[in-house]
Symmetry: C2
Amino acid sequence: MQAANPVEPVHYDRPTVAVDVVIFSLLDDDLKVLLIRRNAPPFQGMWAIPGSFVHSDESLEAAALRTLQEEMGFQDVYLEQLYTFGDIGRDPRTRVISVTYFALMQPDMAQRRANVDAGETAWHSMYHLPELAFDHKLILDYALKRLRYKLEYSAVAFELMPDEFTLRELQEAYMIILDDHTLDKANFRKRLRHEPPIVEPTGEVRKTKGRPAALYRFREDAKREVKARRLFP
Amino acid sequence: MQAANPVEPVHYDRPTVAVDVVIFSLLDDDLKVLLIRRNAPPFQGMWAIPGSFVHSDESLEAAALRTLQEEMGFQDVYLEQLYTFGDIGRDPRTRVISVTYFALMQPDMAQRRANVDAGETAWHSMYHLPELAFDHKLILDYALKRLRYKLEYSAVAFELMPDEFTLRELQEAYMIILDDHTLDKANFRKRLRHEPPIVEPTGEVRKTKGRPAALYRFREDAKREVKARRLFP
DNA sequence: ACAAAAGTGTTGAGAGTACACCCATGC
DNA sequence: GCATGGGTGTACTCTCAACACTTTTGT
């Protein structure tokens, strides 16, 4: 709105603005994304990322949180803006600009989803996606790229893990998200010990078959670090 | 437009959508950004990032390119989407959602700016910014962060350099952008030799006082790489 | 010869990788 | 004891920062 000659924006033909939220979770040893089946044209019967139109009295992030509330029944998750898609033909009905977000949800949250609204929603594996409406395949590809990328340089993995976990479980999470099941156990753990350390033992253990595994939690300062280090505020 | 129950978006009260473009260039051994002085309220007399409202028949990128055309008279620059700002009160007149871009411009381009439109535009040092309208200070801070970040992992610097340059000039560019004038010459050059090499000698030299310096250019494949490696398409 | 800037080589510390090994528990 | 997974140490390579050094030009 900062044209050289500022004119009241109302003179312009305005596009519609939506938010779409890519909601990730780790369930059943797989990386899942929440999708909604469309029950009306266009793309009727196909799956889509949950979204809403942005109301004029709410911020973009508020609209994304409202979408989470509507689909999941709560909104305390990690949320980060992804990218804004605005090509002309992306919605065949009318011009829609979509500000996309991605959300990371702990598995216990993901499971107590109450399927709040009437629509048919389901977790889908990112590695076996159904046919998607609009340009949503593109959005998911991009979201995955960003998630993987953030995994390398920050401690976002925490947002997808339960409060307590073993180091093997954490390593599994990395391997699932990166789709690389060859990570070396010893080296993975060495990286966790690097300064500053991001996990700390709880003192408890989890019994498995074999030697019991120590339980860990994420350090509070590491969590703060994730937000501070955001390159995309 | 992907709500669980798709409704024609026209039912909603729609915000206005703008693009704002942060245009960087290296001039006079300084990192500069193009700003426009506002000649009407609000924020009259303050400086702002160039921008336009998005027309309903153009993509976001097209709107950003049109803004460049209007302010600079041409549009062949590096352009990348930055972030979308949509808080409620950011424009006191009405609700405006701003999709921001950042552009990198070679110095010869930046100099032949014909001050195309009537508004007062000027290059300002990123290190001595005037008071800015709206939330534009925030946008600039973020753009600088992203530029610095991209400098580390990709070869975007090329977009700010002339076609031919000496290695010292390239190092100067890095030091200006990173605001770190302690880079080691030998180590800087070693990094440039890493595979894959991103510069190649032209065979020409530039006379300075002292030993003449070999001229280099960026390799075409390195330029392509910059776009391919975009984590933010 | 000297100043000025271009350009290179050497060294040592630390990070990443591959891989082998030891430890605690249940049966 | 042995299977099962948890947990660690070592040795090798590679990257990178620090710094000293050599080379080519103009005056």
